[in-house]
Amino acid sequence: MFDLNFLLSGDYRDWLVSGLLLSLQLMGITLLLALPLACGVAMLRLAPSRLLNGLGAAYVELIRNVPLLAHFLFWYFGAPELLPETWKERLYAGNIEAASAIAALTLYTAAYMAEDIRSGIRAIPAQQFEAGRALGFSFLATMRLCIVPQALRLAAPPLLSQTLTLWQNTSIATVIGVAELMYQTQRVEAASFRSVEAFVFASAAYLAVSLLIAGLAAVLQRKVS
């Protein structure tokens, strides 16, 4: 018999709620770190130097053409080995799963967001840039004061849909044992043998947050256009 109620009390509820909260935290922290990184990469790709353009393009292509799962595996199993001993000890003493997950998610999300921001910047008429330069601003100052604020408004809807993808991508962190929603769902399933109920809960939770973000994107899209 389908019985969702038993998930909504006691231990199982606590597990699921803590998973949902951790997933939301992963999304929030990743967003905070990925947005400035993405702005930086977009800047590189538009900078007046071929070397810097190449660096930006290499970052985007290297990250985007490798599955997120492989990023997780690398940042969890591989990368810590490269650190000096003392750092490694400190890392293993802390929450290494969450740290690796945030590293992987941030780098991955930033590669996609950089492209959204770049096309936002390119949609700003070149005269805006020329006007900024003509007023005596440097390249960076023109970008910061004149171009980026306008570009971010244009890029907001695609950035939100990238956030939607990020929200779903947090689920993959379960492979390295981060106790987010997907992980807790599997844990509840294993403990209670109630697969359908556990999956219904997880699907509803993911869907609810997704619809919230999609709704926000729709509102923003209307405001921009």
């Binding site: 290297l62 053409n65 599955p67 997120l68 595996l73 690398f74 779903q168 492979v175 697969s195």
Partner: protein
């Protein structure tokens, strides 16, 4: 890293084949290709249903698309793992589960590509076809879709890149595709996780980057052709 390649390249490429089932990079490519080929007709049907003039068809499909796009692929895989045996009557195994999940998930995303492709065809084309006496389905089939498919080609190649990346999630249900095999190699070697996973990343990169370059090239050619036609 060279030592690693020397010892494990065959295992990495085909898994335990021919002594066991096919695995490794070969399985990744087979799974992604099958998923794309099978999800194409599914996506086409869904996309057309979403554009159809009949509300009774359009609304449920729109709802389905919104729901599936709202949940992670990982959950679709778990649903498939759980429900497929009760539908087909026998255990579907990791490959069947993964394929089913990918076909559903990619079909949904393809539906949106189809919709965009069809909407990019000028409405004058539909009107012309209708005024020639073709009914809705015929005008779709012989006038709109052939043009839309050409627009969609670059997106389709990109979708194939996504599908290749998505097959890596088979790792979670123990499918012996290339990520899973890499982890097994890592377990055998134990001391070289950096090299093993860097190699895995490079493998995916070579595969996906060449494909996404192809998509880029197609897109540019498309734009040139359109400009020449205008």
């Amino acid at each position: 890293m060279l030592e690693l390649l020397h010892d494990y390249w065959l295992y990495f490429l085909v898994g335990r084949y021919p002594e066991g089932p096919l695995g490794g990079l070969a399985l990744t490519v087979v799974l992604a290709s099958l998923a794309l080929v099978l999800s194409l007709p599914f996506g086409l049907l869904l996309g057309l249903a979403r554009l159809s003039p009949w509300r009774l068809l359009r609304w449920p499909v729109a709802a389905l698309i919104h729901v599936v796009r709202g949940i992670p692929l990982l959950l679709v895989i778990f649903w498939a793992y759980f429900f497929l045996p009760s539908i087909t009557g026998h255990e579907s195994g990791q490959f069947g589960t993964m394929l089913a999940a990918l076909v559903i998930f990619d079909g949904i995303y393809l539906a949106e590509i189809v919709r965009a492709g069809v909407q990019a065809v000028p409405t004058g084309q539909v009107e012309a076809a209708r005024s020639l006496g073709l009914n809705y389905l015929d005008s779709m089939r012989s006038v709109v879709l052939p043009q839309a498919l050409r627009h969609m080609l670059p997106s389709l190649v990109n979708q194939f890149v996504s599908t290749i990346k998505e097959t890596s999630l088979g790792y979670i249900i123990g499918l012996a595709e290339v990520s899973f095999i890499a982890s097994q190699v890592n377990g055998l070697v134990l001391t070289k996780p950096v090299q093993v996973y860097a190699l895995l990343g490079m493998t995916y990169f070579v595969l996906c980057f060449s494909l996404s370059r192809a998509a880029f090239w197609l897109e540019r050619r498309q734009a040139r052709l359109l400009k020449a036609a205008a």
